[in-house]
């Protein structure tokens, strides 16, 4: 109720200013929060690899791969028709050279931007060479293909610091605007 009475005191112009400021803040936060991922692409790892009854394409992102989340995109194609296969079960297993446990993820259309592809995120805990296997199965049969992924150590994440700095600048600017707001109206 207190919040409602606070907004009631604002005139239309101030409400628009407030809305604009909130939208700007949300824009900065969103632009910074989501890591840029190559949905439906990235670095090709498997191209037209024969796998059971189908041909397999696989891409990974980022390039170079670093410890942490690795985005994997998979496409299954029927070699006879060159049409994408849409209703297969696709699983990705990353096995480390030594030490860590294997990491598994289910690649689905729901995770994919291109709905003819299958996508998943693998959270690889350590650097090193990982053997990645893409396995699929459906009524036509099953198959798998793999590739070695040389994972670099995790990079320092500057993103939160950058977002914080931008938000601080916006907050200081907004404070100056609000401080002098009573002296003039738009």
């Amino acid at each position: 109720m207190r919040g409602r009475s606070w907004t009631k005191k604002l005139d239309f112009s101030q409400k628009v200013q407030l809305l604009t400021a909130l939208l700007t803040l949300a824009l900065v936060a969103l632009a910074g929060a989501a890591p840029i991922q190559a949905h439906g692409g990235g670095t090709p790892q498997l191209v037209q690899a024969s796998s059971g009854p189908y041909q397999l394409y696989t891409w990974t992102d980022p390039d170079p791969p670093r410890a942490g989340p690795i985005h994997v995109t998979v496409a299954l194609v029927d070699p006879a028709t060159q049409q994408p296969v849409l209703d297969a079960n696709v699983q990705i297993v990353a096995t480390p050279g030594e030490g860590s446990q294997p990491v598994t993820a289910l690649a689905t259309h729901e995770n994919a931007v291109i709905k003819t592809y299958y996508e998943a995120d693998l959270d690889l805990p350590a650097a090193g060479t990982w053997q990645v296997t893409v396995a699929h199965s459906d009524t036509a049969g099953s198959g798998s293909a793999g590739f070695a992924l040389d994972v670099q150590p995790a990079a320092r994440n500057w993103r939160p610091i950058g977002i914080g700095a931008v938000l601080a600048v916006i907050a200081i600017g907004a404070w100056f605007v609000l401080k002098n707001n009573g002296q003039s109206t738009v």
Partner: protein, 302 residues
């Protein structure tokens, strides 16, 4: 499969918010211009009303909508699989969205949509006394803009850069941003939209300026369309869609750049030419013009 492709949208929150913010600020400016008090000077009020004409709001919002479609719809998503989709996306961005946005003359309307305190620094930067204005005018002069546009056009069609853009989303965004900004600056000179930092081009100069970019655009389009082998290796490593081979896809993309990509500049030049003809037609008839004398002589011959 068609349904799967039609549902392939990449709803990017930062794009939605940015375009939404521009739409709201433009609408606010447009409404404020329309609601100017009657006490304002009559001529000024008419000018403001002309800025806030309904069709300007419609074209500006259509421009934003075109941007949204080109950046988030299946046209964007499938650009990595089909060269012709990627070319369509670039044409939508540069040949449709940009002119539509600039026909809405966004600068003054967006300024009216901003809070007064935000307007002041922008006005200060563009004022005659601002130290920034002169360098800004220099780097955005028609010649420099022409060079920037051509450089971006040729540079981004280099196979190494183009492949990199398709592999790296950050570089891909940079490619789109550079196409958008350089084309925005080019159309800014062609359409003569605000802010006016330079002496306006005459109608003749505008025609020459508009047509001058066509040969480069056409040559790149023709080279792509008639290339004997795939130019961009990225498309060799992706599944083929719509039953198109890599070469068929490449040829269609080249033709798209060559013909519709150049056509928009011809239309712009044609519109300026029509304006010249109309302006000439509105000039008063000279009663003592030589041809009138000739006509009288001809009529008086018996």
């Amino acid at each position: 499969m068609t349904t799967a492709l039609l549902f392939s949208w990449d709803m990017r929150p930062e794009v939605i918010l940015l375009l939404g913010l521009l739409a709201v600020v433009y609408l606010r400016g447009w409404l404020r211009l329309r609601a100017l008090p009657v006490a304002a000077a009559a001529q000024s009020q008419d000018q403001h009303r002309a800025l806030a004409a309904g069709w300007r709001l419609a074209t500006y919002w259509a421009g934003l909508l075109t941007l949204a479609v080109s950046l988030m719809s299946p046209i964007d998503v499938l650009g990595g699989q089909l060269f012709l989709m990627h070319m369509t996306q670039h044409l939508l961005l540069t040949m449709v969205a940009v002119p539509l946005l600039l026909i809405g003359n966004p600068f003054p309307v967006l300024m009216w949509g901003l809070p007064r305190k935000a307007r002041r620094p922008v006005s200060a930067v563009l004022s005659e006394r601002s130290p920034v204005r002169r360098p800004l005018a220099m780097v955005t002069s028609p010649g420099v803009v022409w060079l920037l546009y051509i450089s971006a056009l040729i540079g981004w069609h280099d196979p190494a850069l183009y492949n990199l853009a398709l592999r790296n989303p950050f570089v891909h965004d940079l490619q789109h941003l550079s196409f958008f900004i350089t084309t925005m600056l080019l159309w800014w000179h062609i359409l003569g939209a605000a802010p006016r930092l330079h002496r306006s081009l005459s109608a003749g100069q505008r025609i020459v300026y508009t047509i001058s970019v066509v040969p480069v655009n056409m040559i790149i389009g023709v080279v792509i369309a008639f290339a004997p082998s795939p130019i961009y290796s990225h498309y060799l490593g992706v599944p083929r869609l719509l039953g198109l081979s890599v070469m068929e896809d490449q040829m269609i993309a080249g033709i798209l750049m060559w013909i519709p990509g150049s056509e928009m500049f011809f239309w712009a030049a044609l519109i300026v030419l029509t304006q010249i003809v109309n302006a000439e037609a509105k000039k008063p008839v000279q009663t003592n013009a030589p041809w009138l004398v000739d006509e009288q002589v001809a009529v008086s011959v018996r």
